[in-house]
């Protein structure tokens, strides 16, 4: 992003950002905002739609948690009346998922002002709730407390795509003392219009930011290499893959939580594909009995085959697995191979065509 501006936070960066969002409403740049907010008795910030500037002070735009991926809701409401412009505060992986959903005709991007959040990682929902209990100012404290940062979700610990892409405006937190200042960055277009409405003056980006980004990246890259090579190794044999998914309960949580798995009804849950007694009976004889529900390997491989090109690495599938199967590790590993082969990166660009929808007559088989 070309323009950068520092905003004063006075010890509460979340509040400072909320005030900017309120101003966007006041200036009628947008008519609604979606942003995480925890409204009592809830302490867990979840995506909330607001349209009254006065209500913005209850929001938590910087909360290090994502109850579910906000991409699903952002996509849904973006399909509404196009006159209603909406500012959406989203994490980098949520924006990537939104871009994928847009290419699948599940989201409109024209009426959204996408505000991307630099993401040092998110805490698991339960961890956030527990830590909230002990830390009144968790959202603010998280950004200066390395101990808290080390507790982020397992997938986030090896995420290298922590800078938002394809947003109009970025909220910058890395390499800054959030107790003093946060950063806003933008490019020409809708982002610049919003920056003007917010009366942001472009200034110098602190050099410390580049260093902070680089050091986080290198730390994450080695973590990623470690995770990926371990799971590459494990899933590369039928027995290894089995050992990873052996305890799958067949609850379909992973599929439902996945922001890019957009089908209303998953093909895996369709009756047409359900095994009938006759099939199970034959198979049971061959394999020394058969565990029910059957077909969990088929379920995971189907989801991989259908969606590996679109996996944005958000980790939601791992977060919701009741039996702690590292679903996202399997997905990210296969996604890396698939996206490399297809010369595609999920969420990279709204213009990049989905490879599976590109039926050219060129090339061989």
């Amino acid at each position: 992003m070309h323009n950068f501006s520092l905003i004063e936070t006075r010890g509460d960066a979340g509040k400072a950002v909320s005030m900017l969002l309120a101003r966007l409403l006041e200036q009628n740049m947008v008519q609604a905002v979606i942003v995480p907010a925890a409204v009592p008795p809830s302490v867990l910030p979840m995506t909330r739609l607001l349209n009254n500037p006065a209500d913005l002070d209850q929001t938590s735009p910087l909360a290090p948690v994502a109850g579910v991926s906000a991409a699903t809701q952002a996509a849904k409401i973006s399909r509404g009346p196009q006159e209603i412009k909406i500012a959406a505060v989203l994490r980098p992986c949520e924006i990537r998922a939104l871009v994928e959903l847009h290419k699948l005709n599940q989201a409109q991007l024209d009426n959204l002002l996408v505000i991307g959040l630099e993401c040092p990682g998110r805490l698991e929902n339960q961890d956030y709730i527990d830590l909230q209990d002990q830390n009144q100012d968790l959202d603010q404290r998280f950004y200066r407390d390395e101990d808290l940062q080390s507790r982020i979700a397992i997938t986030c610990r090896s995420c290298i795509d922590f800078l938002p892409e394809n947003a109009h405006l970025n909220i910058c937190v890395l390499g800054l003392d959030l107790d003093q200042q946060a950063g806003i960055a933008w490019d020409e277009g809708p982002g610049a219009d919003a920056a003007r409405a917010l009366e942001l003056k472009p200034g110098q980006e602190p050099g410390e930011r580049g260093r902070a980004v680089d050091s986080l990246r290198s730390q994450r890259e080695s973590a990623r290499e470690e995770v990926m090579s371990r799971s590459r190794e494990t899933i590369s044999s039928s027995s290894g893959l089995q050992s990873m998914i052996a305890h799958c309960l067949g609850c379909f949580n992973c599929q439902r939580a996945c922001p890019v798995c957009f089908c209303r009804e998953c093909v895996c849950s369709r009756e047409a594909f359900e095994q009938n007694l006759e099939m199970l009976h034959t198979r049971a004889g061959r394999t020394g009995g058969i565990r029910l529900p059957a077909g969990m390997t088929m379920f995971h491989l189907t989801r991989l085959a259908h969606m590996a090109h679109a996996c944005v690495g958000c980790g939601q599938c791992s977060s919701v697995c009741p039996i702690h199967i590292p679903v996202a590790d399997i997905f990210r590993t296969v996604a890396a191979a698939t996206q490399k082969e297809l010369d595609y990166k999920a969420g990279r660009s709204p213009e990049e065509p989905i490879p599976h929808l590109n039926f050219s007559t060129e090339g061989d088989q």
Partner: protein, 155 residues
């Protein structure tokens, strides 16, 4: 299923070494299957471990069918469709092609080498090509040996 081709075992060919390997050929009704008919009429043999399954078009071969084949113990999956431009439903074969490209890295990641899946365009008049392609594919599978998923008791 009656494939219209005399199976080598009926024709008395020695196929003992192929016995334990299974190759499934998912073929389009309009081209490859017709080519198989033609091959049958001209008494061209294809390897015994190959079993043909007829589809109305390769475009209806969802990735799930390919996965089912492998998870149910196939050692190789061959897909035969119309040449580009000749698909009865215009672009079914192109859809098949892009799906196969997409599923290969998935298969490879989970221990199914991409050589175990092959796509060929075989026109209705190409009975000879059908025989050659199936034979060379069966040979590749023979070299690879049984698949890692064969006989597995999968969850």
């Amino acid at each position: 299923m009656n494939t219209g081709i005399s199976r080598p075992e009926e024709a008395g060919t020695d196929n003992s070494r192929h016995k334990e390997l299974d190759v499934l050929a998912l073929v389009c009704n309009w081209c490859t299957y017709t080519a198989a008919d033609l091959a049958g009429v001209t008494r061209l043999h294809y390897p015994a471990q190959v079993r043909l399954i007829r589809f109305m078009c390769t475009g209806m071969i969802d990735m799930r069918y390919i996965l089912s084949c492998f998870l149910d113990g196939a050692d190789g999956v061959f897909i035969g469709g119309c040449h580009p431009g000749d698909c009865h439903y215009l672009t079914g074969n192109l859809k098949a092609r892009v799906r196969i490209k997409g599923i290969r890295p998935v298969l490879e990641s989970v221990g199914i080498p991409p050589q175990r899946l092959r796509l060929e365009w075989i026109g209705a008049s190409e009975g000879k090509k059908l025989q050659e392609d199936l034979t060379s594919f069966a040979r590749v599978i023979e070299q690879l040996g049984p698949s890692d998923y064969k006989g597995m008791n999968l969850v």
